[in-house]
């Protein structure tokens, strides 16, 4: 773990070089680094702070303010259940319950084998297909009923 982070330092430098090392580039730098490493550990944040000459408290303030930034490693597959209004009135809560009971975790948690996590997300912008979920941000499933959930999960087992 430690060594892999060591190796990625020059990569972080590259992101900073690309986005610029001014304060106004900080959010874009964090985006770039998270995309590369998957999450922003405290060590990563410290490193970015040092390289950009910004107080670590400022970096942490940004990371903790915005939902998009993660400070811990996520599961192999992240299930994002859309809880936008359109999905909600079309039964997204039932879909969420089914995922929770199938995986034996609550939303916001991660399975012990680190395979799945469930996250409640705001509108995915696919209201015409409500209720909608997205797996890993790329695979979208729409017009869902709770009965379809086990089948979807089995694809990622």
């Amino acid at each position: 773990m430690e060594t892999s982070r060591e190796e990625s330092f020059p990569q972080i430098d590259l992101v900073i070089k690309r986005e610029g090392n001014k304060v106004e580039s900080l959010i874009q730098v964090l985006h770039g680094v998270q995309e590369m490493l998957g999450y922003l550990s405290v060590e990563t944040q410290d490193y970015i702070a040092k390289e950009m000459n910004i107080p670590p408290s400022k970096v942490f303030g940004i990371v903790s303010f915005y939902n998009f930034f993660k400070t811990t490693k996520d599961a192999d597959h992240v299930i994002m259940v859309c809880m936008g209004t359109a999905c909600y009135v079309k039964g997204a809560a039932e879909v969420m319950k089914k995922f929770e009971s199938e995986l034996h975790i609550r939303k916001g948690q991660i399975t012990p084998d680190k395979k799945f996590s469930i996250r409640e997300v705001r509108c995915l912008g696919a209201c015409g297909m409500a209720p909608v979920i997205s797996v890993d941000g790329t695979d979208i499933y729409g017009r869902l009923t709770p009965e379809q959930i086990p089948g979807i999960l089995s694809k990622y087992q």
Partner: protein, 553 residues
Amino acid sequence: MKIYRIHALICAGGQCISAGGDSFESALKKELQAADLAEEIQIVETGCMGSCEMGPMMVIYPEGVVYVRLKPEDAEIITKEHFLKGRPVEHLMWRKEEGAFPRLEEVPFFAHQTKLVLRNCGLINPENIEEYIARDGYQGLAKAIADKDPKLVIDEIKKSGLRGRGGAGFPTGRKWETAYLQTSDIKYVVCNADEGDPGAYMDRSVLEGDPHSVIEGMAIAAYAIGAQKGYVYVRAEYPLAIKRLTHAIKQAKQSGVLGQQILGSDFSFDLEIRVGAGAFVCGEETALLNSIEGNRGEPKKKPPFPAEKGLFGKPTVINNVETFANIPVIMTKGADFFQTIGVPNNTGTKVFSLAGKVNTTGLIEVPLGISLRKIIFDIGGGIPHNKQFKGALTGGPSGGVIPATHIDTPIDYESLNSLGSMMGSGGLIVMDEDSCMVDIAKFFLKFTVDESCGKCTPCREGTKQMLNILEKITSGQGEEGDIERLEELGNTIKQTSLCNLGQSAPNPVLSTIRWFRNEYESHIRDKKCLCNVCTLSSPVKEVKKHARKKISH
């Protein structure tokens, strides 16, 4: 230029792709190759066509035949029957009970719309600037630079009556004028594409389907106020929109309509994208500007307004995606034309994402002043399963509900405000008899509690207290006086919060109390949810037994 016999427009909007549009397209390409038709038939990937419910969609021109809910296996029959023999495949077309609609214009979903903002969405390839230019694109900018003094551009926008489409409805021309009048060497133009209202995806569709219209609108704004630099602040959740916009900016620079010395003039304008990081409050303009500066997205006190002192302390025009997309139309066709659409003081159109319990959900654009009934029944095709229409939510977590009794209310800024709702950015969620209003109010409040930035106390603490009361009511612990407590708290939060998020957060609760007080009362007094949505503590067993019975059948 190559001439094709047939143009097959395939919707490459986010939702059609998610529904399997990609695999249909590759199947079709294979079929065309096999039938030796690839030279005669051009496939065009367009932006969102609007009727997302029916995706993946394809429209065939010259006839205008609409195919819906396509699967890869349908490619063969369409190629053999329609493309080779000229016989449209009826069973794959958009149909009603009596038969298929022969042409796009005859489908009621499209027939009642007026498209200004979405004029190119679903018609052109958003990744090709030439197609945009062929549809009069960048003509508005050329006109502005060539024969108009910046002041005249502002006068034209003022005359058009265009109001901010982000929801509040502030006159766009007046905002520009304020920024124009400031003396400053540096000014900015910012596009708010932080579309956070859950249940709304208008801005996403415009950016994905016609990004150049936004770029052109911003460039015209920059010319008018004297700005050199602009930013588009887009949600991180919209990767396709970011990709297409990035591509469009690059193309615009190469074509000389963006960047240094635009169209050979002295006017230069550079545009950059800033990707948001998931904070609803950043849709508030001062919070958004804070975020572009690299700070936490916390709002600031107004005045000073951004037009006076905005990004990096400089005069800044900040408008929503849809507002900017209107600008080229006004510049090309004139303010007089724009005024003929809509009603006085509410000119032009509004894009809505029609969703929830309605037959045809999707993206629609209608003239302002249209009735809600027309939207839901003529365009949306009514409520599924012949259920009763109960109300429509507009304005998302800042708005409220329009009850069925007011279904003939014209959709304009003032009428919606007087009903206790608001125009908002354009989410329009239809609810039927099965939707519990107390539960919906709780849903929105949970959202604002999560999204409150925490800077000011009324919003941070007040919404939390309101949510506590609502949780009590929906779990069967409600008591007399709770409704009044909600009203008192709500009004206090509205008056004392720092920004619009807090000032409007109580709206969904206050509006549902106003129109559906009886539902609150039945939760509190009879411990009963009239719609069987909330699980109240006492009658819960009965409900569960009933549900179990249903499953065992």
